[in-house]
């Protein structure tokens, strides 16, 4: 008996090969991540402090690339376009997603169909989403033009006009990602406790009061998570713009990721592009960490 107890304890603490087990289990995954993600990350940091010519480093320039970014009108413009795009898209998605989630809170016929159909926009290949919208916006073959002609109007110009192209890009993003907001917020609404709402009903509170005093405050953490997730994701938007407008017309839809890609692969300014990408990475990380702190504060209060 005594012996058995001893053996059991011995086993649970681990012995021999078991002692090395956690390391052996972590090793394969970490090796791949270190080789393909972490080494490049370090290599990118190194590249960002160098000047390149024809794809090879020619000089160490310290922080020169980083400093230069802030006097580069094209970089500043792409940053501004990105901020406008992210702010506009994410806020529209949050409002529409919230409204749709409130609408779907009560079970009714057709809700399952609605939920299934809403999955489609976010799983379609982003490149294909861009094709969808090119086919809608095209001035000759587009759906908008066809509808306008069918109703007796003329052709519609979207992608050739800077403002329309930017709005067109926001519409694409709203179409693609409002369903995600909807899913997260619906799950949040469904997990709220019932009691406060019943109490409010007993007290005869109107539906606007219930929303403003109960639903919205209780949903704030979920709403914050959803907005942060979308914001981080939207900052890296690339595929859709690459296929829809390639950043044009002019620089109207040239997001920072497109500018970085062109700097690296079209203009071959490897070091400068690396500095640009490191800057984006830092901005997104700062966003994420301040969002986490904000969420902790909301949780605590």
């Amino acid at each position: 008996m005594q012996n058995g107890m001893q053996a059991r304890k011995y086993r649970l603490q681990g012995a021999g090969l078991d002692l090395a087990l956690p390391y052996l289990m972590l090793a394969p995954g970490l090796t791949v991540v270190l080789g393909v993600l972490v080494y490049p990350l370090w290599d990118g940091l190194r590249a960002s402090t160098r000047a390149y010519r024809y794809g090879s480093p020619v000089a160490d320039v310290g922080f020169h690339n980083y400093v230069q970014l802030w006097s580069d009108a094209q970089f500043l413009n792409s940053l501004w376009v990105t901020v406008k795009f992210v702010a506009l898209s994410v806020s529209i998605e949050a409002v529409l997603g919230f409204a749709l989630a409130l609408f779907c809170l009560r079970e009714f016929r057709g809700i399952r169909l609605l939920r299934t159909v809403l999955i489609i926009p976010m799983v379609i290949t982003p490149v294909v989403v861009a094709i969808l919208f090119r086919l809608i916006y095209a001035s000759d073959a587009g759906m908008l033009t066809a509808l306008s002609v069918a109703m007796g109007g003329g052709g519609v110009q979207i992608l050739g006009n800077p403002l329309n192209a930017f709005i067109g890009l926001v519409v694409l993003d709203v179409w693609e990602w409002t369903p995600l907001m909807f899913l997260i917020l619906l799950a949040g609404l469904q997990s709220l406790p019932h009691e406060p709402f019943e109490a409010a009903r007993v007290d005869g509170a109107g539906s606007w009061r219930v929303f403003a005093d109960l639903t919205f405050p209780m949903m704030r953490p979920v709403l914050a998570i959803a907005i942060v997730l979308r914001t981080i994701d939207a900052f890296g938007t690339f595929d859709q713009v690459f296929v829809l407008t390639r950043g044009g017309p002019g620089e109207a839809t040239r997001l920072i990721s497109i500018y970085g890609y062109d700097t690296a692969f079209k203009f071959q300014q490897t070091g400068y592009a690396a500095a640009l990408f490191v800057t984006i990475g830092l901005v997104v990380l700062a966003l994420a960490f301040s969002a986490i702190r904000l969420l902790r504060r909301i949780d605590a209060s």
């Binding site: 086993r11 649970l12 090969l17 078991d18 956690p22 289990m25 972590l26 995954g29 791949v32 991540v33 080789g35 393909v36 993600l37 490049p40 990350l41 290599d43 990118g44 590249a47 749709l100 609408f103 057709g110 809700i111 609605l114 299934t116 159909v117 809403l118 999955i119 489609i120 799983v123 379609i124 290949t125 490149v127 294909v128 094709i131 969808l132 086919l135 095209a138 073959a141 759906m143 066809a146 069918a150 179409w175 369903p179 899913l183 997260i184 799950a187 998570i225 997730l229 900052f235 890296g236 690339f238 595929d239 690459f242 296929v243 990721s257 890609y261 690296a264 990408f277 997104v284 990380l285």
Partner: protein, 272 residues
Amino acid sequence: MSTRLARILTTIFVLAVVLLPIYWLVSTSLKSNREITQEGTLYPHVPTLDNYVRLFTEKQFGSYLTNSVVVTFFSVAIALVFGAMGAYAIARFRLPFAAERKIGLFLLTLRIIPPVVILIPVYLLMLSLGLLDSWLGLIATYTAFNITFCVWMMESFFREIPVDLEEAAMVDGDSRFGAFRRITLPLAAPGLAATAIFAVLVTFNEFLFALALTATPRAMTMPRGTATLIGRIDTDWASMAAAGVIGALPIVFFALLVQRHLVRGLTMGAVK
């Protein structure tokens, strides 16, 4: 009664907004270019499958599809095995200096950084290894991204499984790894499936790295091939639409088939 009417109208409106662009894509893909640009019809008056046939006979869509399937399969399978092991180690063991927690946090941080940040150095790495325009280069890259995701997702699934079951197996003479393989892993199967499904979705749809790392039909994936085709044929709307349908069909079909498991991955775990 009026709320019911509002409900029906809203449902129809939402369905229309989501489905109309898709209808237009499919409808355009069944028309000839002449019908598209000169007649501007709202539905195909003379439906044709020529556009689809051309994609496979003239535009190498067969290769793109093969490349996508091979690359997605291997990168997800490897990431799932390595990721599940890593996640188990992080969820169950207490290492010196809380190393397991630090590793977990580190992998999560890597996941938050937009992939575009390491595009250039990954390109340079694959260039120096001679892995540009190859299956292996893409598989290595996607495996790494998928591992950070799998570890993070599987860790939460493993934590939900009680330790007692493994301990019981070990008392009965199983090794620690044996208990993991025979007890924990089967119990985590639904989580494993959800993780795999989401990884498949993201990998199949990936474009940015495919754009930088591949250049010929030898290794180009579906999104990459589709985008290239579009770059070349600015006004061949019929081919573009057919390419869109072929590009989206496998993944949409797959997603609708497994939609129950999709939500957790899509929402980065914000929803359970």
